[in-house]
Symmetry: C2
C-alpha cells in the first residue's frame, strides 16, 4: 500500500543491489538529527508507532509493480527483480528510543538492521514520519512548558501541511505536552483528548449574538466556551456573563489580549462568575505566551494552531538516515561519509544517559557506572525483531507521560526556550572514536 511512498532512487538502488548480487547483504542504518533546529536545546522523539505500523504492513501491490515496470529507469531491470519486490516484506530489526525521549544532535532516534534493499527503500517514509512528529512534539513541549499551569490545546489542522499532517500533528503535540487537540480524527485513532469551542460562523449564523450564545449553552452546558470577539469583545463578554451558569468560559481570538483579558475577567467577576475561564487563541506561540504570562494576564488556557502544527519558526528538522555498517558473507564493514561539510560516525550505537550527560557508545559496549556509582539508562530498545513486533508499544498517553518525566529531568539550561551558552554534554565513547579513526584512516591488512 505505501511501499511506493519513497524516493525513486531507493527503488532504482534496490534494483541495482539485486542485479549486483547484494540482496544477501545486511545493512545497519541510523536515523538522527545532524544539528538541532534554531533555539532548540533538544528534540522530543515521536512518530515511532506510525513507523512501526508502516514496517509491519510493508508490501507492494500488483498495480504498483506494473507502474514501476513501465518506468524508463527500470528498462534494464530483470523480471527476477520484480518477482523479488512482489514477495518483499520487512524482515529486519528495528531498535529505537521510546516516543517522548529527549535527544540531542547526532544521537540515533532509531536504528534499522535489515537486508540492504529493505533498509534502503524504507528510508524516505521513516524520515518523514519520525522527522515530522519529532518536530511537532518538540514545538509542543516548548509551548506547553511556557504555558506552565495553563493548559494548551492544539488547534492547527487547518494550517497543517495536508489533512493527514494535521492528524499526526495532534498526536505529536499531545506527546509533547498539550492537553489535547481539536482534530477529532486524532482522538478517534489515537485516543487523544479532543476539545473545541465555536467559530465565528456559529455566531454569524444566528440573527443575534445573544441567541447564538443561548443555543450554545443549551447544547454544551458546562463545556460551553463562548467565542466573544465576532463583533465586539467587551460587548460579547457582557452578553456571555448575562447568561450565567453553566459555562466553562469564554474565548478571545483577536485584539490586545493583555487589555481584553483584564476587561473580560472584570466583567465575568462582577457577574459572580469567578470560576468561568478565559481561553486565548489567535496566532499564538511560545514567545507570545511567555510575554502574556510575564504580564500576569488572567488567561487560563491557550489554543495554539498555526505555529504549533507547522513548527513555523523551525519548519524542518534535518533528520538523516545513514549507513553505518554492512555485512556480507560474514564480513562486517563499517561505513561513514567524509564529504566536505557533512560527515557521519560509523558503527551501530547505543545511548547511555547518565545524570546530566549522555555517552554515545558502540552497541557491543557494556555500560559503566558514573563517578557516583550510578548506572546509566540505555535509551535504545528493540522494537521489531526479524520483522515481528518485539512488544506492544506505549500509546500516546503513555508516551506523553514519559516525555514529561524525561524532559523534567533535563538541566534547567537545556530546558530553556533559547540556545544556551551551556549545551548539554554528549560524549562519544573511546571505542566509537577509535572506530571512526580506523574507518577514516584504515591500516592496510589490519581488520577493523
Amino acid at each position: 500500500m505505501r511501499a511506493l511512498l519513497t524516493d525513486l532512487y531507493q527503488l532504482t538502488m534496490a534494483a541495482g543491489y539485486y542485479e549486483s548480487g547484494k540482496v544477501g547483504e545486511r545493512a545497519t542504518f541510523e536515523l538522527f538529527v545532524r544539528h538541532l533546529p534554531p533555539n532548540r536545546n533538544f528534540i522530543v522523539a515521536a512518530g515511532l508507532a506510525q513507523a512501526v505500523e508502516y514496517l509491519l504492513d510493508f508490501h507492494f501491490e500488483p498495480a504498483e509493480l506494473d507502474y514501476l515496470r513501465r518506468l524508463p529507469q527500470f528498462r534494464n531491470a530483470s523480471s527476477g527483480f520484480f518477482d523479488y519486490l512482489a514477495g518483499l516484506r520487512f524482515s529486519g530489526d528495528l531498535f529505537a528510543v521510546p516516543e517522548g525521549t529527549p535527544l540531542f544532535a547526532g544521537e540515533p532516534v532509531l536504528t534499522v538492521r535489515a537486508p540492504l534493499v529493505e533498509a534502503q527503500i524504507i528510508e524516505t517514509y521513516l524520515l518523514a514520519t519520525i522527522g515530522f512528529q519529532t518536530l511537532i512534539a518538540t514545538k509542543a513541549w516548548r509551548i506547553a512548558t511556557t504555558a506552565g499551569d495553563c493548559s494548551v490545546v492544539e488547534f492547527g489542522t487547518r494550517r497543517a501541511h495536508s489533512p493527514e499532517a494535521g492528524v499526526l500533528a495532534g498526536r505529536a503535540a499531545y506527546i509533547g505536552g498539550c492537553a489535547g487537540t481539536s482534530n477529532t480524527e486524532t482522538g478517534f485513532r489515537y485516543g487523544v483528548p479532543v476539545y473545541g469551542t465555536a467559530a465565528h460562523s456559529w455566531v454569524q449564523s444566528f440573527t443575534s449574538e445573544d441567541e447564538s450564545y443561548r443555543r450554545l449553552q443549551q447544547l454544551l452546558g458546562e463545556a460551553t466556551i463562548y467565542l466573544i470577539d465576532t463583533y465586539d469583545t467587551v460587548e460579547g463578554a457582557r452578553k456571555a456573563a448575562a447568561l450565567g451558569r453553566p459555562l466553562w468560559g469564554v474565548r478571545l481570538d483577536s485584539g490586545n489580549l493583555v487589555e481584553l483579558s483584564r476587561k473580560v475577567r472584570a466583567i465575568l467577576d462582577e457577574a459572580g462568575l469567578r470560576d468561568a475561564r478565559i481561553m486565548a487563541t489567535g496566532d499564538l506561540n511560545e514567545y507570545k505566551i511567555l510575554e502574556l504570562r510575564n504580564h500576569r494576564v488572567p488567561i487560563d488556557a491557550f489554543g495554539v494552531g498555526t505555529a504549533l502544527a507547522t513548527s513555523d519558526d523551525a519548519p524542518h528538522l534535518g533528520a538523516v538516515y545513514k549507513l553505518v555498517e554492512l555485512q556480507s558473507n560474514n564480513v562486517r564493514r563499517f561505513t561513514a561519509k567524509f564529504s566536505e561539510d557533512k560527515h557521519t560516525i560509523p558503527g551501530a550505537k547505543q545511548i547511555f544517559r547518565y545524570q546530566g550527560y549522555d555517552l554515545v557508545a558502540r552497541t557491543a559496549q557494556a555500560p559503566k557506572r558514573d563517578p557516583d556509582g550510578q548506572w546509566p539508562e540505555a535509551l535504545i530498545e528493540p522494537v521489531i525483531i526479524s520483522g515481528t513486533l518485539a512488544r506492544e508499544l506505549p500509546d500516546a498517553a503513555a508516551a506523553r507521560s514519559f516525555a514529561a518525566l524525561s524532559t523534567g529531568r533535563l538541566p534547567a539550561a537545556t530546558r530553556s526556550l533559547f540556545e544556551g551558552a551551556d549545551p548539554y554534554r554528549v560524549e562519544y565513547s573511546p571505542e566509537l572514536l577509535r572506530l571512526l579513526d580506523q574507518v577514516r584512516h584504515p591500516t592496510p591488512g589490519v581488520p577493523i
Copy 2:
C-alpha cells in the same frame, strides 16, 4: 472515512445547528488568503482535485459515530442528530478557480454553497488541502522560475510534514513548474514524472567508489547520474568521466557549488563528455539558485528538497474560510466579521481578470469590457453541483500548463521574487462595496 478529520467544534456546531432547527439553512462560505506570505506577490492555487475527492466521498462510518456518541461534548445531542450524521453526504455546490490559477489576497480560491451543517464540517479539511498545495505550488513557481531553462526536480518527501504531505508536495510542486518529483507514489497516483539518482549509501555499500559507479551505469544506462561527493567531489568526477558513455551526468550534493561545478565541468569536458550534465542538490532554494545563476555556473538541473516541500521561508499560508451568505426560508442574509484586526467582505463573489488587474464582483454582476473593449476572464467556475461533479477536472499536467500560461501573463513586477512597490491591482466592484456598507451599517427596515 475522513469525515472525522475535522475540528471538533465543527461537529458540536453541527449538533447545535441541528438542535436549533437550522439544518434547512443554506450557507455560502469562501476560502481565501487574507494576506500574501512574505515575498509573495501572488499565490498559485492548487489542491482542488483532492478537495473534490474528499467531498464526493464524504460520509461517517458507524465506528466513527460511536466514537462521537461517547464524547462528553455530545452528551446533550439527540439521537436524531446521529441518525442525521449517518445519512450525511455532501449535497451542495462547489465553485472554484482551476488549479494553477494565480490569485491575490482576498480573492476566493473556492466557494461552497451547501446546507449549513455540511458547509461547516468540511472547513478544516478544505483549508488544509487547498492551503498546503497552494503553499507548495507557489514556492515551486518561485524556484522553477528562478532556475529558468534549468529544470528543477522536487526531492523533499523525507523532510515533508508526514509521508502523505510528501506525496501531495510532489503533486503541487509539479503544478507550480517543477519537471517532476522523486516521490514514486506521486508518480503512481497523479501521473507526475518521477526522477532519481543514487544515494551516498549506494556508493558506500560497494568496497570501491569505482565499482558503485560501474554498477549504476550498467543498470541505468543513459539515465545514469553519479553522486560524486561521497568521499571527494573532484576525484568522484574523474572516476565518473573515466567510465565514459552512457550517462546523463553527475550530481553535486555538498561543498562550494560555484567552484566545484566549474572543476567538474572541466573534467567532463576534457574527457570529451560535453553533453554530460551537472545536477546540483543540497539545501537549495530560489535565493541560492538565483545566486548560482548570477555566477553563471555550469549547472544544468537542480534538485530541491526541504525548502520546497516545507515552503520553509513561509511555512503557512493563512488561508481562511468565511461565511458570506446565509439563506433560510427564502430569506437571504449577508454576513461579515468586523472584529478589531480581522474583517471579511460579505456576499458570494466572482473574480473578473482583466489585462493587468482584477475586479472582485458580486456573482450576480455581469462582466463589463475594459477601456480597450476586452472582456475579462471569469475565474471562478462550477465544479460540483448538488453533490455531483459538474465535469472532469484537469489532471496535474494540465494544471501545470495552465499555471505556466496564467503566471506568464502577470506583470513583471508581480513575477518578482521580492515584494514590489507596485502591487498587482485588485479592485472591488461598487456593488460589492455597497453591500459591505449595508451589512456594516444596516438601515432598519431596508432589506439588503
